[in-house]
Amino acid sequence: MATLEIRALRKRFGALEILKGIDISLEKGGFLVLVGPSGCGKSTLLNTIAGLESISSGEILIGGQVVNDLHPSKRDIAMVFQSYALYPNMSVAENIAFGMEMRGVPKPDREKAVAAVAKTLQIEHLLSRRPSQLSGGQRQRVAMGRALVRQPRVFLFDEPLSNLDAKLRVDMRVEIKRLHQQTGTTIVYVTHDQIEAMTLATKIAVLKDGELQQVGTPHEIYNSPSNLFVADFMGSPAMNLLEGTVKGLNGARRIVLERHEHPPIILPIPANADESRLSDGAKVIFGIRPEAVNDKDGVDRGARSVATFEARVEIVEPAGSDTFVVTRAAGKELTARVRADTQLRIGENHTFAFNLDKAVLFDPQTSRRI
């Protein structure tokens, strides 16, 4: 049975519909990341799960129980906020124990629980300090401690890492992941950072304008995005989305990407596309991730279907571990990921290779995957 289940959830503010019928379920021990651009409703969705905002229709079940009308404190959840929301007038220990104090847990039990959590998070030496005396990472840890001490059925994280600097963010990300693996808790996590989503989640839900675009494992979301929005939103640098035309050549269907200075690129239909839905002359969007565009000898040895083409190098961006090369196809920029020690020069022509196993096709009309 799912620990968290959301059924046909809608949230309206007057005439404005913020959430337009959300259905998600999360099994025990799962890590669900809600991701999307700002204003997509992901934080609102989290707040409705927490009970901090009411819902207009639908159902939210936690542990099989409908919690629509339950007060936040009665839902068996704990929440970590973006600003950490530590009570500034209380010490770290008091912060962690406040919820238990409100629930009337006797003092010796509270102290024991605080000590146990402090040990898990290695914040024992901070217990008597005030939040203002802590660094960002320490505050983050205390905020997690305050959530952990409740041992709730579901943890809610509202963009917990966005106030930290880049390095600390990566450290805390690892720490959250480790915490999740050690304690086996069920987590719902909101972020606008798709890398956080990819690295942490067991399940990702991509939202846009209050509508679920796709729910799936990070692998599914990344490799088989269900529409153009998901394809474009997930991944950095973004997926190359090129306009092409379906043509019948020599008795087989091909995708043709027109180019200005070079002959068109002619590609076989990628294996994961539904060929029966393609007709000659139809426009398609050909999507391929930068890492599936390499130089000729950098292409994945296991790839079953590879297509090569010549293109002029426009920009070379060394990123340390890899180098991104920008070239042009079908009137748009095409980013390729090549080895870091590449000798490519700007302005030169070079042979690139598409790993077509990783390519996807979209219908430009509906923006859905074919």
Partner: protein, 315 residues
Amino acid sequence: MTAAADALVAGRSREPARHSMTTRVIIYGVLVLFAIVYLLPLVVMVMTSLKPLDEVTGGNMFYFPHDLTFEPWKKAWGTTCVGLTCEGIKGYVWNSVRMVVPAVLISTLLGALNGYVLTKWRFPGHKLVFGMMLFACFIPFQSVLIPMAMILGKLGALGQTLIDATGFSWGFGNPTVNLVLVHVVYGLGFTTLFFRNYYETFPTELVKAAQIDGASFFQIFRRILLPNSAPIFIVTVIYQFTNIWNDFLFGSTFAAGDSSPMTVALYNIVNTSTGVIEYNVNMAAAIIAAAPTLVVYILAGRYFVRGLMAGAVKG
């Protein structure tokens, strides 16, 4: 570096120094002048209050006391005549204290509660309610006198009924209670404004976190909001204390005779139409009347500016 370059650098650095010296003299000169202008009345008051009466009437008010005496202070406190009774102003100071303390505390706490609701528990129309409360800040004192008198009259009648029924008025109709009520009602607009603006910048996530922790409406207010409101609390208390302590209009309108506050009593001392005008006693009484606000400002003044600025600039 060459000697020439040294001289050049030294010359350049001396030039602004001389310039800032003149500026500084002018600035401090003006500041000292204004300080003297503002302090002079107080100095004259203190000196006059420490002189015997003949020295006051016979001498120059800027002279230092020749025969230093504390008699005017004792008289002002204990034996001078206010109206018909000659027991000094001590009773009236006490009247003022009994009025000011509850009025300040109640209006401040209610203002804090209003600010809390208007920012953290918003309801449809909260802006309208706040706008109407703000309106209270702009209503002239005089225009509420008659309506207020009618309301207080009704409350007095209720008190009389209660005396008949239970033998005790429960505070209705008591002049001090009336004044507390008037000042609370009149002060609410200001205290609400102060606290609302302060709580507007108070992180709402703290309230949400406390909700999830299971704290109730009042627990959040008492445990989370209030302990973090010290600056605005001090501002509001100073503001309300000064206003209510110095109020004359309401005091003279709604409290008569023995129950009138300090300010009204002071007026009655100074405005006596019989006998010699005892300037030294008047001055002592005036200083006593002004002392509490002075003390409050000296003790908490730095928080006043800090609190007023809080929320004006983020961070």
